[in-house]
């Protein structure tokens, strides 16, 4: 019987010829990723030591301090220090800090390969699906189990097939595809399921854009969001010197999907998710004119090279509106450096943007751009929950980097197409 991408990857990882949606399988994990905020400090370090459990394979463990870097206070600094020292003590050589959100770092450093199963203590671990990898977020106790055994149980998910066909209009980005898809499925519409994104629109997207789509699969409740492997995947990996043996796994033709959704790219307008839910999605024209205090471009969702490059196209020769702050946090030090070398950071800075360190900070309101009561932000990030970026009396609208950049210039939520 033909299998979906998730079924095939989980069959491989569980040592079965075949698995079907609904099966409970114990899966061998290829990599385990932890961050600072929910990594060793929560349950893991203490219990691992108490139970005297050795780590199953240190070379497969990656730890990245990203949420509390650079630390805003001594408490955050202690957490980063704890994480660093835990890695040292336990012989975890794959440790990174201060260079940006874990998911971008994981990809750039070659820890994500097609066909693999990766679990991480962050819900956006589903990002790796863009590279054809089954990535999913887990909690800390679950991670403790993985560290001890190298295994985790999964219920093989049913899959939703999302097909986008046609050409995107000018001014429309993958983020708009992502928001439209989530708005349609609903924020719990894919719970316990995987999403497979396909169609010529997806095939024609560069990897930075694909990552932005899979990154937000969890915002529809999904366990994973996957895009089949192709030449774009291959070339992207090569860019980071990854040309080693990996065996990609693509879905079988005629695999069985729980649901199939079709979208036409040429009909898509720039999208915005309004407060306080990610599926509260509408065409930007319906909210144009909402006054903003802050515009934010950054995070594992919307801070990649292409995001900053597109924002720079809009902002070149223009100025951020008076009374508005545009904050930009590149998704990694590598993204930062490339944008620096290509003159993108200068264009953004000349327009009035403040360039921040690569970090998760502002996205979840823990530092570097936290909102006060009454403030409104348009952001290229992934969540607009109540209080997400700071005060519970602030508001967050999610949009593409183009929409954020345009709104920064006018001072209110604005359709970017009058500028592109």
């Amino acid at each position: 019987m033909p299998m979906t991408m998730s079924e095939k990857i989980l069959a491989r990882a569980s040592g079965n010829d075949k698995v079907s949606a609904g099966d409970i399988v114990w899966v061998n994990v290829d990599k385990a990723m932890m961050d600072d905020i929910l990594g060793p400090r929560i349950e893991i370090a203490e219990k691992l030591e108490k139970l005297n459990l050795p780590i199953w394979d240190k070379s497969r463990v990656v730890v990245i301090s990203d949420h509390y870097t650079p630390p805003a206070n001594a408490k955050q600094a202690e957490i980063v220090k704890f994480t660093r020292e835990w890695c040292k003590k336990n012989g975890i050589n794959n440790y990174y800090e201060f260079i940006g959100p874990c998911h971008q770092v994981m990809v750039e450093k070659g820890h994500v390969l097609p066909g693999e199963v990766i679990v991480g203590t962050d819900s956006h671990t589903c990002t790796y699906g863009a590279l054809g990898c089954f990535g999913t977020g887990i909690g800390s106790t679950e991670m403790l189990g993985v560290l001890a055994t190298g295994q985790i149980w999964f219920k093989v998910p049913k899959s939703i097939k999302v097909t986008w066909s046609g050409k995107l209009k000018k001014g429309v980005m993958a983020k708009d595809i992502s928001l439209k898809t989530i708005g349609t499925i609903g924020h719990d519409g894919a719970t316990y399921m995987a999403i497979e994104y396909t169609g010529d629109t997806i095939n024609n997207l560069i990897m930075d854009e694909r990552l932005a789509i899979c990154n937000m699969a969890v915002e529809a409740g999904a366990k994973a969001g996957l895009i089949p492997y192709d030449s774009v995947t291959k070339e992207y990996l090569k860019q980071f010197n990854i040309d080693e043996d990996y065996s990609y796994i693509n879905p079988d033709e005629n695999a069985k999907y729980e649901k199939e959704l079709y979208f036409k790219a040429e009909e898509l307008e720039p999208q915005v998710a309004c407060p306080h839910e990610v599926d509260n999605v509408t065409d930007i024209s319906n909210v144009e004119g909402v006054k903003i205090d802050q515009a934010y471009i950054g995070s594992c969702t919307g801070g990649r090279y292409n995001d900053l490059k597109e924002a720079a196209k809009i902002l070149e020769g223009k100025k951020v509106a008076k009374g508005v702050r545009l904050l930009i946090s590149p998704a990694s030090k590598d993204v930062y450096d490339r944008c620096l070398n290509d003159g993108i950071l200068k264009i953004l800075s000349d327009a009035g943007a403040v360039i921040l360190a690569p970090s998760c900070g502002a996205c979840l309101g823990v530092h570097s751009g936290t909102l006060a009561a009454g403030e409104v932000c348009i952001s290229s990030t992934n969540r607009n929950f109540l209080g997400r970026m700071g005060s519970k009396d602030s508001k967050v609208y999610l949009g593409s980097p183009l929409s954020v950049a345009t709104s920064a210039i006018t001072g209110y939520i604005t359709d970017c197409r009058q500028f592109v």
Binding site: G139, T149, T191, E277, G365, G387
Partner: protein, 164 residues
């Protein structure tokens, strides 16, 4: 059989509400004082062990943060009933020994009701309203984890069996 007083909330109570990011840097004991604070500041002050948290659809959506169930556990939450759970939150709750039960009729349950849950038979009695609802029975593979007292005990046993 579990019996207790209900704390009732609506749909989409996400992890930013249960465990607000601003307090995640605090130890669990301290962070617990702010659990649910964006929508109910009394929750952390007045929830008593034995009370039952009841919600609508998609409870615990968003982050993978275990600080969500951990802070609830700290406040005495041992049982949660919801129409549906976000999957990572569900696993996290079960893994630390919180019973998470799906019931399609939680919209009939109100704040302060006294309910009795028979999770082996899949029935909830609302003693205040004198009503009965069906709830899901716990799946076998989840029950196996709960019977061992959480995932860690389950895994330690699994490792012992392997080596013996």
């Amino acid at each position: 059989m579990i019996r207790g007083k209900v704390w009732k909330y609506g749909d989409n109570i996400n992890t930013d509400i249960i465990s607000p990011p601003a307090y995640m840097e605090l130890p669990i004991k301290e962070a617990a004082k702010y659990a649910m604070s964006p929508i109910d500041e009394n929750f952390a002050k007045e929830f008593k062990e034995g009370d039952i948290l009841v919600a609508g659809k998609n409870l615990g959506s968003g982050s993978s943060r275990e600080t969500a169930p951990l802070t609830l556990y700290e406040l005495g939450v041992r049982t949660i009933v919801a129409q549906s759970f976000a999957r990572i939150f569900y696993r996290n709750a079960v893994n630390i020994g919180i019973l998470a039960i799906e019931c399609p009729e939680t919209d009939r349950i109100e704040m302060g009701d006294i309910i009795e849950i028979n999770y082996e038979n899949g029935i909830i009695n609302n003693l205040t309203k004198n009503e009965k609802y069906k709830c899901d029975k716990i799946p076998d593979h989840i029950m196996a984890i709960i019977k061992e007292g959480g995932l860690i005990n389950y895994i330690v046993k699994k490792l012992q069996n392997k080596s013996s």
